[in-house]
């Protein structure tokens, strides 16, 4: 079966700098993935609902100001809704000390500025079949 990864690219919190999320969304599309793209400022609840309805494999959060600080809240909300098998990756400006906090909260990976687009797409492409296999094994 040909696996087409389905990825939500979004921004939570207050910041509106969306160049990064748009470039990443377009790249993932060109890499053959199905991308749900949202504008910035999504509520955590809206992201959880969207992820469930669209049954995405991965949620990519772009954070260029300080919105990564509420990612732990998103992780808790996903767990509460039974979406713990959705991988969350964060891209953008995340100081080192905060990265540790995010990983501890269950974030799969943090991509920093300068990460290649191909790094992001190959990471997702490798991860998704494993995620799906786990889901079916459950």
């Amino acid at each position: 079966m040909n696996v087409i990864p389905k990825v939500l690219v979004t921004k939570i919190g207050l910041d509106g700098h969306d160049r990064g999320s748009r470039v990443v969304a377009a790249h993932l599309r060109d890499a053959g993935m199905e991308v749900i793209y949202t504008p910035p400022w999504q509520d955590i609840g809206a992201v959880v609902k969207l992820a469930a309805e669209e049954d995405v494999d991965v949620i990519g959060i772009s954070s260029l100001a300080t919105d990564h600080l509420i990612v732990p809240k998103l992780m808790a909300a996903l767990r509460a809704a039974g979406l713990d098998d959705v991988a969350v990756i964060v891209g953008g400006i995340v100081p080192d000390e905060d990265e540790a906090t995010l990983l501890a909260a269950g974030v799969a990976r943090v991509f920093h500025p300068g990460a290649g687009l191909d790094d992001i797409s190959s990471y997702i492409r490798e991860m998704v079949p494993k995620l799906r296999a786990q889901r079916f094994a459950a």
Binding site: N2, I4, D30, E53, E54, F136
Partner: protein
């Protein structure tokens, strides 16, 4: 779920779907979409529970404001206490299979309402417009107990035919000042509309468009059931209540569950369709000119052909955009293949093209030719050239003279 038993798991999944569990519905749609393990069994299990939802098909040319209208409809239906599911079909790139499913976002703020469920579906290269599996996705949402299921389709190609099979009530959205879009509407969508909506009614051309549509309806559908034409400004929700009223009235008289009664649409139109599809691909593969220009025929059917090309530096004009001759070649090739799909030599006798948007180097273009009319001697084809993001680049109309001479030697077909 630790049970390895497929039946038990299915029963549990079904129970959760009937309970309108978002996560379970989301998983079930993916299973159907990916034709994954258990998809067929799941489909069979939900069908007996389907039939109570009113299925609305919403279609129309790109840019008509379908998503904005759906947002306004969601607001109005929520106000009336309805629960609504939306299936939004977005085009995918035929080359990479990738897609940005953006319609959900254009549908605006109601996506977060607890009584609304939105699912984006990629057309996955199925250029007819509707995802092959949409009908089965609708079954799941119907079984989950949504009062209304809205199916939004890419407004191009053959979607009009497919939506007929799925939707109980078909709404066609027109932008004001139709212009070339009149052609699009005349050519197919026009016949299937149960309700017309002229969107962006605040623009001056809207009134004229309403008048044109009513005139055309009088001419074409003399004696048939009255088809309402409603003007809306979907951003301000004006006229939207009237649309909901008209749609509900139609649904009440026509009944729900049309798709469950009709035979499921076949993908390629049966044995004849398969033969025509193969013929188009064979003809496309042996045309020196098209091949030299870098064209590829990717799909065919009776009276239908899809040809693709990527705009390269050799296709550019002195202004750095795609040469008109290239666009014509692309459209003309699709036209030639579609008109020859029936097995007889069809000779072009005239064609006209309109260029709408400049194409640039790197753009992936798709020309889709469909048969508009066919008589003993003459046949007319409409070709639309789209960019991968569904922007209409050019539209083309061509006429052929149909001969009785086979266009392939007998032995070719045997292979």
């Amino acid at each position: 779920m630790n049970s390895g038993d497929g039946n038990a798991r299915r029963a549990s999944a079904l129970a959760r779907i009937l309970d309108r569990d978002r996560r379970a519905i989301g998983h079930a749609i993916s299973a159907v979409e990916n034709d994954g393990p258990g998809a067929a069994g799941l489909s069979a299990a939900v069908t007996p529970h389907a039939g109570a939802a009113h299925v609305l098909g919403i279609t129309g040319p790109p840019g008509a404001g379908k998503s904005t209208l759906i947002n306004a409809l969601l607001g109005e239906l929520i106000r009336r206490g309805k629960s609504i599911a939306v299936v939004a079909v977005d085009p995918s790139s035929p080359l990479t299979g990738g897609a940005v499913l953006g319609d959900r976002v254009r549908m605006g703020e109601h996506g977060t309402h607890p009584d609304v469920f939105i699912r984006s579906v990629s057309s996955r290269g199925h250029l007819g417009g509707l995802s092959r599996t949409t009908s089965r996705i609708v079954d799941i949402l119907d079984a989950a107990g949504f009062d209304v299921v809205i199916v939004e389709t890419v407004g191009a190609g053959q979607s009009e035919v497919e939506i007929t099979a799925i939707a109980d009530t078909r709404v066609v959205v027109c932008p004001p000042g139709l212009g070339d879009d009149v052609q699009a509407i005349k050519a197919g969508i026009f016949e299937i509309a149960d309700v017309f909506v002229v969107n962006k009614g605040d623009l001056p051309a809207a009134e004229a468009t309403v008048r044109d549509l009513k005139d055309m309806l009088r001419l074409r559908r003399r004696g048939a059931q009255e088809v309402p034409v409603i003007k809306t400004t979907a951003t301000l929700a004006d006229g939207v209540a009237a649309v909901v009223d008209a749609v509900s009235a139609h649904g009440a008289s026509a009944g729900y569950g049309r798709r469950l009664r009709a035979p499921r649409p076949s993908i390629n139109g049966g044995a004849d369709g398969t033969e025509a599809a193969k013929r188009v691909l064979r003809l496309g593969a042996r045309e020196p000119f098209g091949l030299a220009m870098g064209l590829a025929c990717v799909e065919g059917g009776p009276g239908r052909a899809v040809v693709m090309a990527t705009v390269g530096p050799q296709h550019l004009n002195f202004n750095g955009t795609c040469h008109g001759g290239m666009l014509f070649t692309l459209a003309d090739t699709a036209f030639g293949l579609a008109s020859n799909s029936h097995g007889m030599i069809a000779a072009g006798i005239g064609a006209h093209i309109a260029y709408h948007v400049a194409a640039r180097a790197g753009d992936v273009l798709t020309a889709t030719a469909v048969e508009v009319s066919r008589s003993r001697k003459l046949a007319v084809y409409r070709v639309e050239v789209h960019r991968a993001d569904a922007t209409l680049i050019a539209s083309f109309t061509g006429t052929v003279y149909v001969t009785t001479v086979a266009n392939e030697p007998q032995d070719v077909k045997e292979h």
